[in-house]
């Protein structure tokens, strides 16, 4: 009997103690009026403009912090507006050596969801079993009843936290974007 009850507790633990994230974010193409190149040269108006032909150049760098919900599958990092604001009102008319340096991707919500779920099922399982056993006794001690109820309550709270974590948690991306503003 106990083995059957334990299998009812353990099977959900095995299946529900896993968590995952799988997402993709896009960077390109960047639709701007000015030419943007990832290398030191530009291709503009049908011609290759080399580094030596630039009249002026200036380095720039900014950090983009991007968050995507854990449940999301796709995202888009749009740097068009950032680049336009760098160029707007200046004498520069192109960008070269544009780099996306991925500094960090924080997926720590994923293991926490699994750990919280696992602990919640353990607490709910043991609390529930203890409550059932205590309830079936002719005379039960209040201290045991409180302890078992506390286990059950803590488990339910952890399950709620894991649900919130999974549905409202984010994957955080930190990306350094750098390049050269050029006048050609």
């Amino acid at each position: 009997m106990i083995k059957k009850i334990m299998s009812f507790v353990l099977i959900p633990i095995v299946f529900l103690s896993c968590a995952s994230v799988d997402q993709r974010i896009s960077f390109a193409p960047i639709d701007t009026d000015i030419p943007i190149s990832a290398t030191k040269q530009l291709y503009a108006n049908g011609n290759v403009v080399t580094e030596n032909s630039f009249q002026k150049s200036e380095a720039f760098m900014f950090t983009k912090n991007y968050s995507l919900p854990m449940k999301a599958k796709e995202g888009n990092i749009d740097v068009k507006n950032d680049i336009n604001s760098l160029i707007k009102g200046s004498e520069f008319n192109g960008v070269t050596q544009l780099k996306f340096d991925i500094k960090d991707i924080n997926t720590s919500s994923v293991p926490w969801v699994a750990i919280e779920r696992d602990l919640s099922f353990l607490c709910v399982g043991f609390g529930g079993l203890a409550l059932t056993s205590i309830a079936s006794m002719p005379r039960s001690d209040n201290a045991y009843l409180i302890l078992a109820s506390s286990f059950f309550g803590a488990g339910a709270a952890l399950l709620g936290i894991s649900f919130i974590h999974e549905h409202f948690g984010n994957v955080d991306y930190i990306i350094d974007i750098s390049g050269m503003k050029v006048k050609y």
């Binding site: 103690s17 993709r24 974010i25 193409p29 943007i36």
Partner: protein, 140 residues
């Protein structure tokens, strides 16, 4: 299994959650040393183009097993780079260099699967995929 072992496993998992080193060089998009212009904005062209796909990825697997009174907790970790960084792959792609190229797609993919029972299995994969469009024919 002792409660102490489970607690230690929990600490081990927390350590790996917080202290994973990040493979910036492997998955970043940096083609600044390439000698051909790689444009990031859409290029309108009359000539035929061909698209090449390049992938650079990093995977990490960590398995932690809770011990007992005879055996301590154990952790096995391995990480692996799949493919060279994108700039090296791009340099090796052409025998005759085209006049220009266009990054048609740059995607960063992240996947992580974590299982926590009496031990834990953590599988992480970061991948950068680049689709390069290049003219073939007259413009070469």
């Amino acid at each position: 299994m002792k409660i102490k072992s489970l607690a230690l496993l929990f600490v081990l998992c927390s350590f790996f959650i917080g202290c994973a080193t990040f493979p910036s060089n492997q998955i970043s998009f940096d083609l600044s040393n390439n000698t051909i212009p790689v444009m990031l904005n859409t290029q309108k062209t009359e000539v035929k183009t061909k698209t090449f796909s390049l992938i650079s990825a990093y995977t990490k697997n960590v398995i932690s097993i809770a011990g007992n009174k005879n055996q301590p907790n154990a952790t096995i970790a391995n990480d692996n780079n799949e493919g060279e960084p994108l700039n090296k792959q791009l340099n090796k792609l052409f025998i005759q260099d085209p006049k220009w190229m266009m990054a048609d797609k740059i995607d960063l993919s992240v996947s992580r699967n974590f299982i926590f029972i009496v031990g834990s299995i953590d599988k992480i994969r970061y991948q950068t995929a680049l689709d390069i469009k290049t003219p073939i024919g007259e413009e070469k």
